[in-house]
């Protein structure tokens, strides 16, 4: 389903009809599935179906005068459900988004700051790039940093900004390091040389900034020899799998969950602690809907002794976005000012309704988003949010 990259390279709104994607757009039957499945569709003056209609009539400029695309959280729901298989999230909506942000009278300051921070510091939170690898000192197992030891390595672990800097993300990192070490994986990280991969918001809003980060990280990759890249951030996975390939990236990239599943037979005997949790799993949009990893996270959770998996009402392809994608991570205040319910608040209610003790996630944005949503719902003492890797690591304890 992921679009042929050659087909969209260099395509703009003016030239889209000359591309195969444009031909596909012309086949739209205006069924409205896209707008109906969009989690924020009801708040958009121009939801996806109307955008296509306007494009067909040469009136797409109208959309730029509204904040409709500011409300798109890149959740891939419209695209994955389109009966004509139009690559809405990947192509058309990206192009409309960039024009929207150019025409906006005021870019919401939180988003503006995140973009600037990425430009200046290589991470959205504005932390010093020289502190990116500081978390390594708190790891219980040794972690090799390539700039200090540039020997060829089998697996390059692309840590990404949220895991590297956010205290809860660092919890996940320590768990991953422990698991990789136990599995005997030959791995290393880029440390302070790494910068944000550039997905999530950046690709949609600032293609120039995204390109600068792509160029930077590609240059760093070329310094070292490794066989494959893993990451715990599905957004980075998407960036490498999709945008980086347009710029000639040829490496192999895997999310940490399917990577661990490859080694599940080796891992299982190490999971000796029975956890006794009832767990519900939130499918991340990028990992699940866009990359099709629905079974792997569940298989990994089921491999942990004593875990009972309960599904939420919306799961797998119907998963409900946490609202952090497409720059949504930095638009919480804006959404609130438009009287829109934050999607994490909407989703947490479904998680609470399962009666589970643990909400398991596989994306670094989701931990802070859902922990916050639990507080808003007044449910933070009854349910905890854990990355799957944290649960695996806990099961490895004696």
């Amino acid at each position: 389903m992921i679009v042929e990259l050659d087909a969209i390279r260099g395509v703009s709104l003016d030239t889209i009809y000359d591309s195969p994607e444009g031909k596909l757009i012309q086949t739209c039957i205006q069924c409205g599935t896209c707008s109906g499945t969009c989690p924020y569709g009801e708040y958009m003056e121009y939801p996806p179906r109307r955008i296509i209609k306007l494009l067909q009539h040469g009136l797409v400029d109208k959309v730029f005068d509204t904040d409709s695309m500011l409300k798109c959280v890149n959740c891939y729901a419209c695209m994955m459900k389109c009966p004509r298989e139009i690559h809405l999230t990947e192509v058309l909506l990206q192009l409309v988004k960039e024009q929207t942000v150019i025409k906006l009278p005021v870019v919401p300051p939180e988003l503006q700051k995140a973009l600037e921070n990425n430009y200046r510091y290589g991470n959205p939170m504005g932390e010093s790039g020289r502190k990116r690898a500081n978390w390594v000192q708190t790891s219980s197992v040794p972690i090799r940093i390539l700039s200090q030891n540039p020997e060829p390595v089998d697996v390059l672990w692309f840590v990404e900004s949220y895991p590297a800097f956010h205290p809860r993300g660092q919890d996940t990192c320590r768990a991953i390091a422990k698991i990789l070490n136990a599995l005997g994986v030959d791995f290393a990280i880029l440390g302070n040389e790494e910068k944000s991969a550039g997905e999530c918001g950046l690709l949609s809003w600032e293609s120039g900034l995204a390109e600068a980060l792509v160029d930077y990280n590609m240059a760093i990759f070329s310094k070292y020899k490794f066989n494959r890249i893993i990451t715990s951030d599905p957004h980075a996975l998407d960036a490498f799998n999709f945008r980086y390939r347009m710029y000639g990236f040829k490496g192999s990239i895997t999310h940490i969950v399917p990577f661990i599943i490859e080694n599940i037979d080796k891992l299982k005997p190490m999971l000796h602690k029975t956890l006794g949790y009832s767990v519900t799993y939130h499918d991340s949009c990028c990992l699940g809907r866009h990359n099709g990893y629905y079974d792997e996270p569940r298989a990994l959770l089921k491999a942990i002794p004593g875990i009972k998996l309960i599904e939420m009402v919306h799961n797998r392809i119907n998963t409900l976005c946490c609202g952090g994608g497409g720059g949504g991570m930095w638009l919480d205040t804006y959404f609130k000012s438009q009287n829109m319910e934050r999607l994490s608040d909407r989703r947490i209610k479904e998680a609470i309704d399962t009666g589970a003790d643990v909400l398991a996630v596989a994306c670094p944005y989701e931990i802070p988003r859902f922990e916050d949503a639990l507080k808003v719902a007044g449910y933070d003492k009854k349910m905890v949010v854990r990355d799957i890797m944290e649960l695996v690591s806990e099961a490895m304890e004696d």
């Binding site: 939170m125 205290p167 809860r168 205040t333 609130k336 802070p368 916050d372 808003v376």
Partner: protein, 323 residues
Amino acid sequence: MNNSILILIEHLKDAIADISFEMLGIGRKIADSFNGSLHAVVLGKDINKFLPELGIADSIFVADDEKLEMASPETIADIIKSIIEIKGISITILGGTNTAAGVGPILSSKLKLPYLNFCKNIRVEGDNIIVTNQLFGGKILSDVKLDGMKGIISVNPGSFPSDAGKASKVVPVVEIDLSQIKIKNYFKKYIEPEAGDVDITKENVLVSVGRGIENADNLSLAEDLIGVLGGAISASRPVIDQGWLPLSRQVGKSGMTVKPKLYFALGISGAPEHVEGMKDSDCIVAINKDPAAPIFNVAHYGVCGDLLEIVPSLTEKLKAKKG
């Protein structure tokens, strides 16, 4: 006029801005230590009313003209340049404000004089003037010696006491000759921003409440504390989400970044998203029931206990102390 100092007086809406008195105060001190003279320059419309307040200067240069009200940096720079050239001024001091921000660089490039920005302190050491200025947003302080005692200094507001610059005395007034000054841009009208809520980024004291406050009625505990301490109330996101306080009071990643002198975190756990917005406060006092709350990692003073008991008694104690 050897070793003379010139101060650009700033005024807005019929009042002299405090920064002007700060500059006059330090200017007087420096001028006296060199047996030099201190001069002020006032531009704008109907400015004669300001002159009696500027008695600390030895003379005042004035240009009373409608077109000089809120003049553009180019115009101000041209006028100051003419004064410096005719009167042989050695040091010009400007305010590090929006009003004067553009003047210094223009003047510096036109007169080939050094320009020192973000100045926090000026002192005299022997025959030299040493200027301390902030670099990298205040992370680094640098001491700079002004070569040949000539230059332009722009001072950060709040760096010097303004009282030291206040004196009412009648001093000589010199009219500035505007015949050579070309005024390309001039001010037309002053538009006030719409009156909004309190700007929490400008408060010296913030009493911030989190979910530990339990309900909207308990906000009065924080208000009472503010009644004694001054400042304003702010909050973490859950409180704003409940609608107990408006969005303009939110501190954190999705709200405001604040740096008050004193920040109270009442019942705020200290999620990274909140800490991002307040960690640079000068003094952080946290009150929280949970001894493991991450807010204690950034707090300078922490009290582990129930804020509903502690805050009222703290307010009482402070009240008693204040008499």
